[in-house]
């Protein structure tokens, strides 16, 4: 095990950085390490002194994880819990939307591009046909009697266009959804500060104390009464 104060600090810091990808965590750690080296070069400070100025590693990591610079104002207990649940709900909805866009949007984009590619290689397998009244539409070599080929020359450019549009829209949606989800995760990860029982707790304790004292007095009286009689 190393005794290097910087490595010990980094190890504690890294362990406390949660709720982020490895790449982001590494980037943060690299920046803190760069700060220490830079500070050492610029001001000639010793590493322990620099680390002291950075603050405890767990606290530094907590500020990265939660972004909670100012303690949130307290509120009514059920509302605080509901707020936390709602935030995780919105985060989950984001995650679902990201998965949906990534699978469906990109899937459609790639499928259209593959279709366009196949159109060059095997045109008869990728032919689009339709019956005269457009009641039946299909793709492939087996078409019903009387069905005719549709958009024969335009099929490939249309497929390429649709593929590109799906990929672009998917990317655009993900570029909006991912940062938005990160913001919600950060909000959801803020520690929930439940209100203490405070005065109510003290009152309850005093009342229960009074009750047990009264009960003990009553038992003593009954016992004395029986002994006397």
């Amino acid at each position: 095990m190393t005794n290097d104060p910087l490595e010990l600090y980094i190890a504690r810091f890294q362990t406390s950085l949660t709720g982020m990808t490895l790449a982001i965590r590494q980037d943060i750690v690299d920046e803190i390490r760069a700060h220490v080296y830079e500070r050492m070069c610029v001001s000639g400070m010793a590493i322990p002194q620099i680390l002291e100025r950075l603050g405890p590693p767990e606290e530094l990591a907590r500020e990265y994880c939660t972004g909670a610079l100012v303690t949130p104002k307290g509120g009514v207990f059920p509302l605080i819990v509901l707020r936390g649940v709602a935030m995780w709900g919105i985060t989950a909805a984001h995650a679902f939307a990201i998965a949906f866009v990534a699978i469906w949007g990109y899937g459609m984009g790639v499928a259209f591009l593959i279709f366009a590619l196949l159109r060059s290689v095997a045109p008869e397998l990728t032919a689009l046909w339709a019956t005269a009244d457009f009641n039946e539409i299909g793709i492939g070599p087996d078409r019903p009697f009387g069905a005719r080929l549709v958009a024969e020359n335009w099929l490939q450019p249309i497929a390429v266009g649709l593929g590109v549009v799906f990929l672009m829209l998917g990317t655009k949606a993900l570029r909006w959804l991912i940062p938005s989800m990160k913001r919600w995760v950060r909000r959801a990860m803020q520690p929930i500060e439940l209100p203490s029982l405070g005065g109510a707790g003290r009152k309850l304790a005093r009342l229960s104390g009074d009750f047990f004292q009264a009960q003990a007095r009553m038992v003593r009286r009954v016992r004395t009464h029986w002994q006397d009689s």
């Binding site: 760069a34 080296y37 830079e38 100025r53 603050g55 990265y64 610079l69």
Partner: protein, 121 residues
């Protein structure tokens, strides 16, 4: 921590985001340079570690961008620069800050001892 000290820390932290954006307004800068700018031009005496999570959050919010650049000192530096959105936010924050302090100044004026009043006047 006594209540008044806690309040002061929260106050400093609260306006640190605006101060960091203001420090980045003239040109791109890296963590330690931003800290030194804040030390030089403001009274925001906070632990150095406070600035980095703020920069990280500002980047996530699209207010700043960052990139690693090799420096002459031999260590790479992570430079931050304001985005258009960050610049607009900094201006808006500065305007709100000026309005806010002007309002509160008038309110707290009677609390201050005479020499401080003269200094502020």
């Amino acid at each position: 921590m006594p209540d008044e000290v806690k309040w002061e820390v929260q106050l400093r932290k609260g306006c640190l985001e605006m101060a960091v954006l203001a420090a980045l307004a003239p040109a791109r800068s890296y963590g330690l340079e931003i800290i030194r700018t804040l030390e030089k031009h403001s009274d925001l005496a906070l632990s150095e570690g406070t600035v980095y999570p703020i920069l990280n959050r500002l980047r996530d919010d699209g207010l700043v961008t960052s990139s690693w650049v090799e420096s002459e000192s031999g260590h790479p530096r992570k430079y931050y620069s304001l985005t258009r959105k960050g610049y607009d936010r900094a201006i808006r924050m500065a305007e709100v800050w000026m309005q806010f302090t002007a309002g509160v100044d008038a309110l707290i004026e009677p609390l201050l001892p005479a020499p401080q009043k003269r200094a502020r006047g």
